[in-house]
Symmetry: C2
Subunit: 417 residues, 2 copies
């Protein structure tokens, strides 16, 4: 009987695993609770109204259409029964496996303050991005109708919690929207006076970058009029603003880019996880006691030389591919090999013609880094159509300062004006 | 004091009225409960995953950004107090006017069967289009996971109620998706065997078109494998299908394109309305007893030569422009003039290279009508960006049979698989 390999997750990891198995004599089932793969590095551009959801997402079954040994199922894995080699899904069905690759990624985490979530949404899915876009655009709309100037100032204050790449990208784009895109369209408020705070609890923003690049990024942010607060923890979030250290900041919009935790389903494996809920995997990415189950990407706490691997696309892609190859090795009676991560570099974009790129052997900032960022992200997007449309939308945003997707959508019954 | 003209609605009518007032010495406030104008004729392409919401919608304040005497407010008008000349909006605020143009359009109507709505959604807003897209795509996903062949057949049955242009467009596109787009991506089901029914209670589909064009359209639909049922009323809708006359049809997806009613706010005017809730206006489009209040487009039952004007974009645009000009005439002490509608023609698209166009002096079907349709709709879209992106998406859909926006989005908590 042909071995049945199940992959959970259609992100960077899951797709890489499916591709690595394309020529093998195995049956593969990939399950995901969404029908689409999302190109996560550009999610902030949907949240800030530059790109449409359809520009950065593609149906998983379309991406894998030519791989005939893969079947794609829309299903939400709720529990993994490693003893029975069975995955339970949310509608009561179950799926049996011989081998399992878990690439379920991460969700945002509030460090024990889950009550902050409604007032400080995070950015992980297309729905999150649409909800954040809605909040940002509604803040300006409400300010235009507000007659109380104190309340107007509050509506025009945006706090971004977390100074990693996502926080920096959100802050930079938000500043451009307020200072450029919306400038001529309002009659009561002056959008260019919007206040944008980027708050980082650690000693510095963009901690994973070298110091000179961090300094370049910080200078770019300050030039855009963003208040950068480093070494300051957010100690409270409510519907009217945040506490930054001991300072109260009234804000109409608070966005969360501060922390992630592994997706919850891995807890049901019954093996040790770290503080962020990541599975502590063996060097070959299998789990202790069940060598037929592998975990890759953000759901795993994989180590190289005693150092935790970063939660980026490359880790997921390389890891999931390695897990798939380890399964094929075992099927041929060979031992597995340990996963060794190859760091291909690190990038963050701040705004118009400002970015930083750390390729190890080459460190760039400013316009050169910005071009490198554009090129790489266009290249990595899935499908000719997305590449052309995204490139065109970027060109339009660049030359006209306009954004193509400034829509407030959502259930009108729940919209409050 | 400069006269204050309020326009309710940012659709084809409201935008035309605002533009007609651009050089007048008046203050204009346009209010809408959405921040965006939707190009309604292409809404069915969002519902059928060809275009993204952002491709056919643009922020109202962006469209009107250069008209300096217009202020745009996001607000939901709930009641019009004609005695006090005041509009109440949903958050308790109110807006006073000297002159009022109501261009609030229509919503779908279920002829006294409002309980059908959850199982047979209609298509009027972007949210509707996203919800319908979700239903259509989920039907195929569920069928792929279903093991019971009878239930599989039900999931692959689609019923479209209403044979006007929207119903015909939805049926035609749906057939292409099932027969072409999805053909190679599923492993269990054969999407080309999907059953599509178009049901029209009146004697014929596309009633407003001449007979030879109707026949051409019907032939195109049948060629696409659509079952066209004319002269048959839907007498029941539930979560598992519909009753068409006395025949039970089990269907996983039922879409409503059968009837419209004027938006509810016009009821609060306290003047007579027709059966579909439309205000029975004077020949100059003002309302009886309040010559400072005008109604245009789908919210009005306007007559020419004893015949009700059709509920199309042209009626709204010409009517709202006429209402604006009548206000300016009155401000200059002149009498108003009656509104005379100029019929510019009628078009419907059926599918790939199949459409019908009735321009009065010229009647087209087939490829020529299809090109006329493409050209006109690209031309009427707002903004250079939309035109380029939509043209590109159409070209891709045409040459590759692929659709660019096949996303199932929505609150994951309410998703059932």
């Amino acid at each position: 009987m042909t071995p049945h390999i199940v992959i959970i997750g259609g992100g960077f990891g899951g797709l890489s695993a499916a591709r690595a198995l394309r020529h093998a004599d195995v049956r593969v089932t990939l399950i995901d609770r969404r029908n689409h793969h999302v190109f996560q590095p550009l999610l902030y551009q949907v949240a800030t109204a530059t790109l449409s959801p359809g520009d950065i997402a593609a149906p998983i079954r379309w991406i894998l259409r030519s791989i005939k040994n893969v079947r794609v199922l829309l299903a939400n894995a709720t529990r993994i029964d490693v003893a029975a080699k069975r995955i339970e899904v949310s509608d009561g069905d179950s799926i049996d496996y011989d081998w399992l690759i878990i690439a379920t990624g991460s969700k945002h985490a509030y460090f024990g303050h889950n009550d902050w979530e409604p007032n400080a949404p995070g950015l992980k899915t297309l729905e999150d991005a649409i909800a954040i876009r809605r909040r940002i655009l509604l803040a300006f709309e409400r300010a235009e109708r507000e007659e109380d100037t104190r309340r107007q100032g509050q509506l025009l204050t945006f706090v971004i919690v977390g100074g990693g790449p996502t926080g920096v990208e959100l802050a930079g784009t938000l500043a451009e929207i307020a200072r450029q895109t919306l400038r001529d369209e309002f009659r009561t408020i002056d959008t260019t006076r919007a206040r944008i705070l980027l708050v980082e609890a650690g000693p510095t923003i963009l901690q994973t970058f070298p110091e000179n690049l961090r300094n370049a990024a910080r200078a770019s942010l300050v030039r855009l009029g963003i208040e950068v607060r480093e070494g300051m923890a957010v100690t409270g979030v409510d519907s009217h603003g945040v506490m930054v250290g001991s300072e109260r900041v009234d804000a109409g919009t608070v966005l969360w880019a501060a922390g992630v935790a592994a997706s919850s389903v891995v807890k049901t494996l019954g093996v040790p996880v770290d503080r962020a809920g990541r599975v502590i995997v063996e060097p070959d990415l299998s789990i202790p006691g069940h060598s037929e189950v592998f975990v890759a990407g953000d759901a795993a706490a994989a180590m190289n030389d005693g150092k935790l691997l970063p939660g980026v696309a490359q880790t997921a892609m390389q890891g999931a591919r390695h897990a798939a190859k380890n399964i094929l090795r075992r099927l041929q009676g060979q031992p597995t090999t340990p996963f060794i991560y190859r760091d291909l570099g690190n990038m963050a974009i701040i705004g118009r013609r400002a970015a930083i790129s750390d390729l190890g052997w080459l460190r760039l900032s400013g316009v050169t880094a910005w071009f490198a960022w554009l090129f790489l992200h266009i290249f990595m997007l899935i499908g000719f159509r997305s590449r052309v449309v995204v490139l065109f939308q970027w060109a339009m945003a660049y030359f006209t300062f306009q954004r193509g997707a400034r829509l407030i959508t959502g259930d009108s019954k729940t919209t409050k004006f």
